[in-house]
């Protein structure tokens, strides 16, 4: 099928996408790199001057950076842990025959369609609010002091909210994968004397590896840049307790108008993402090829 003519046509058809993505990657990123070496504040236009690596130094040296870095990793790791483990458990459950499978599936899927600003606001006000939230009502009903989630455990609360949004995604992918598992293989294992733990460890998990990889990859892409949930719930606070890297960059550049510092932070975020991406790509490269 690969004749010279079709090759030329193919190149023409790929090029718009490649050119656009290339421009999208190179132009703004180039500008960010350039800005990151300038002393540049939006409040003082026309005062730009060369700063060398100062911006990087100040960005990295601020205590907020270390906590933002740790928060970013905790957020990604925490949500991945909850959604993958929860997703596998839920997928195993929903794979069993029971009445009303369709309805339950529709209910489980639903959070995926809820936009981040809505889910954050709903959790913040209707559930975690220390006075009127449902959790507070429950606490009062059983005679416990209501807990102010967003002030005392802001990051954990945000992890919970984000995990709620992504659990359906993980469940759905893992359930689909589970349904393609060869039943005869499972029966053969049963005949061979494997109990359900053995079957899970030696058959189900290996079968799910590929889809777990997909879940981890896709979610990591989105989780590294969680922003809206933080903006509407805690504004990164209290202090910097729930500030992740994207939020820190946003605060520095658009709240403090420090373009230079924000750009340096942006570049650091890109480098961090690339380190993560490097490992992820190697992982999916291996798992998706076969």
């Amino acid at each position: 099928m690969a004749t010279e003519q079709s090759r030329t046509a193919a190149r023409l058809m790929v090029s718009p996408a490649v050119i656009l993505l290339f421009l999208w990657m190179i132009v703004p990123l180039g500008m960010t790199i350039y800005f990151s070496f300038l002393r540049y504040n939006l409040l003082m236009p026309g005062m730009e001057s060369w700063a060398g690596f100062d911006n990087y130094y100040y960005f990295l040296a601020q205590p907020a950076f270390t906590s933002a870095l740790i928060n970013t990793l905790l957020l990604v790791g925490g949500v991945l842990l909850i959604t993958v483990v929860g997703g596998i458990a839920l997928a195993l459950l929903l794979d069993q025959p029971f009445k009303g499978q369709g309805v339950v599936r529709v209910m489980v899927i639903a959070p995926f369609f809820v936009m981040p600003t809505v889910s954050a606001l709903v959790w913040k006000n209707m559930f975690m609010n220390p006075v009127n939230g449902i959790f507070a009502h429950i606490a009062k009903a059983i005679g416990v002091q209501p807990f102010d989630f967003l002030s005392h455990a802001p990051l954990a609360s945000i992890i919970l909210i984000v995990a709620w949004s992504w659990l359906p995604f993980a469940t759905l992918i893992l359930l689909t994968a589970l349904q393609s598992l060869d039943r005869e293989q499972m029966e053969a294992a049963e005949m061979d004397g494997a109990n359900w733990i053995n079957r899970f460890v030696y058959l189900v998990l290996p079968h799910l590896t590929r889809s777990i990889t997909v879940v981890v990859l896709i979610q990591t892409i989105f989780l590294l840049s969680v922003f809206a949930e933080i903006l509407v719930t805690t504004n990164g606070g209290p202090g910097t307790a729930s500030t992740n890297l994207p939020y820190l960059v946003y605060a520095q550049s658009l709240l403090n108008f420090d373009v230079g510092g924000g750009s340096a932070g942006g570049i650091i975020a890109v480098i961090l993402a690339n380190i993560v991406a490097f490992f992820l790509m190697r992982m999916i490269g291996k798992n998706l090829e076969t």
Binding site: M1, A2, T3, E4, Q5
Partner: protein, 335 residues
């Protein structure tokens, strides 16, 4: 018309040579079968003729015109694919009419040709179904119908029967042969099954690793295989090959005896023990361990009550021995 000639055609993928320089002449109206083990390059050769792959060097002539650089559609060839490659979203009628539609043939004429093809192939009642609702044999017929309506210079078949079950395969084999007799159009047919090759072909091309081992009519290949490869490939069960002292006694490096030519006799020179007897009713296949000769397969007509463990004597047919030299080439054809 459907005359195809290949001269010095080669095909390489990167550093790998799939087809070394190859010449082949296919005459108008001939039924030519490319046969060989999997990976021998027979499908690649067919795709080169179809124009689905570019040839690396050489020339392809169709009806005296240079078609080397012609697009597949310009070559006036029709192809039936192994997977049938029916368009799943179109009805049978639309599938068959598709090449006509592409050629911008008027609707009325399209309808007539489709109806006609459907009648020939017994598809009239299925014209409005989708391919997914048809059985394997019916799909096969739709694929052939799609090829027929174009009235091509030649039909190309790429292992068309390999996805059918055994009994259907026999039926379709006969249908394709009958189709060839009524259309008298050139057909090129690729298969790895030597039975299909023997039963259908006017001319068999035996391929091995991209090389043509031998070209000839089925019986020519059966009686006069040019070398060990062809001798081993054509005929079922496979020809027995004997080497060593016994072969040397006949003045060759390898001695070939077809199972159906060995006779069970009371005083044959070869004595052996039956290791396995397969009783088919019409025939009996015996695996015999012969001292000083080796394992031989013997085909005995009918049922003669032979069984495992029995000692028998065999007579090799003096006039039906095949002798091959050290390089595997036949010495003077059948002795």
């Amino acid at each position: 018309m459907g005359q195809i000639s290949l001269s010095s055609v080669t095909k390489t993928f990167g550093d790998v040579t799939v087809i070394p320089p190859l010449d082949l002449q296919i005459n108008d109206g001939e039924f030519v079968v490319f046969v060989g083990p999997s990976g021998c390059g027979k499908s690649t050769l067919l795709r080169l003729i179809a124009g689905l792959e570019d040839i690396s060097s050489g020339q392809i002539m169709i009806d005296g015109k240079d078609a080397t650089d012609a697009a597949p559609a310009e070559r006036r060839l029709a192809m039936v694919f192994q997977s049938y490659a029916l368009y799943p979203h179109m009805s049978v009628r639309k599938n068959i009419a598709f090449p006509l539609k592409m050629a911008k043939i008027p609707q009325a004429e399209q309808d007539k040709k489709v109806e006609n093809a459907a009648r020939i192939l017994n598809l009239t009642n299925y014209l409005d179904r989708r391919p997914g609702q048809l059985s394997g044999g019916q799909r096969q017929r739709v694929a052939i119908g799609r090829a027929i309506v174009r009235e091509p210079a030649a039909f190309l078949f790429d292992e068309p029967l390999s996805n059918l079950d055994a009994s259907l395969r026999v039926t379709m084999r006969q249908e394709i042969s009958e189709l060839h007799q009524s259309l008298k159009t050139t057909m090129i047919y690729v298969t790895h099954d030597q039975v299909e090759a023997m039963t259908m072909a006017d001319k068999i091309v035996v391929l091995n690793a991209g090389n043509i081992e031998q070209v000839g009519s089925p019986l020519e290949l059966y009686h006069h295989p040019r070398n060990l490869f062809v001798a081993g490939f054509i005929g079922s069960p496979k020809m027995n090959f004997v080497t060593g002292a016994e072969a040397a006694r006949h003045g060759c490096a390898t001695l070939g005896v077809r199972p159906e030519h060995l006779e069970v006799t009371a005083d044959g020179p070869w004595q052996g023990v039956i290791g396995l007897a397969e009783h088919l009713g019409s025939d009996t296949f015996l695996k015999v361990q012969v001292e000083g000769v080796g394992d031989l397969t013997v085909r005995v007509a009918g049922e003669q009550g032979l069984h495992h463990g029995q000692t028998i004597r065999l007579t090799p047919p003096a006039d039906k021995l095949y002798r091959f030299d050290k390089g595997g080439l036949a010495i003077g054809g059948a002795a």
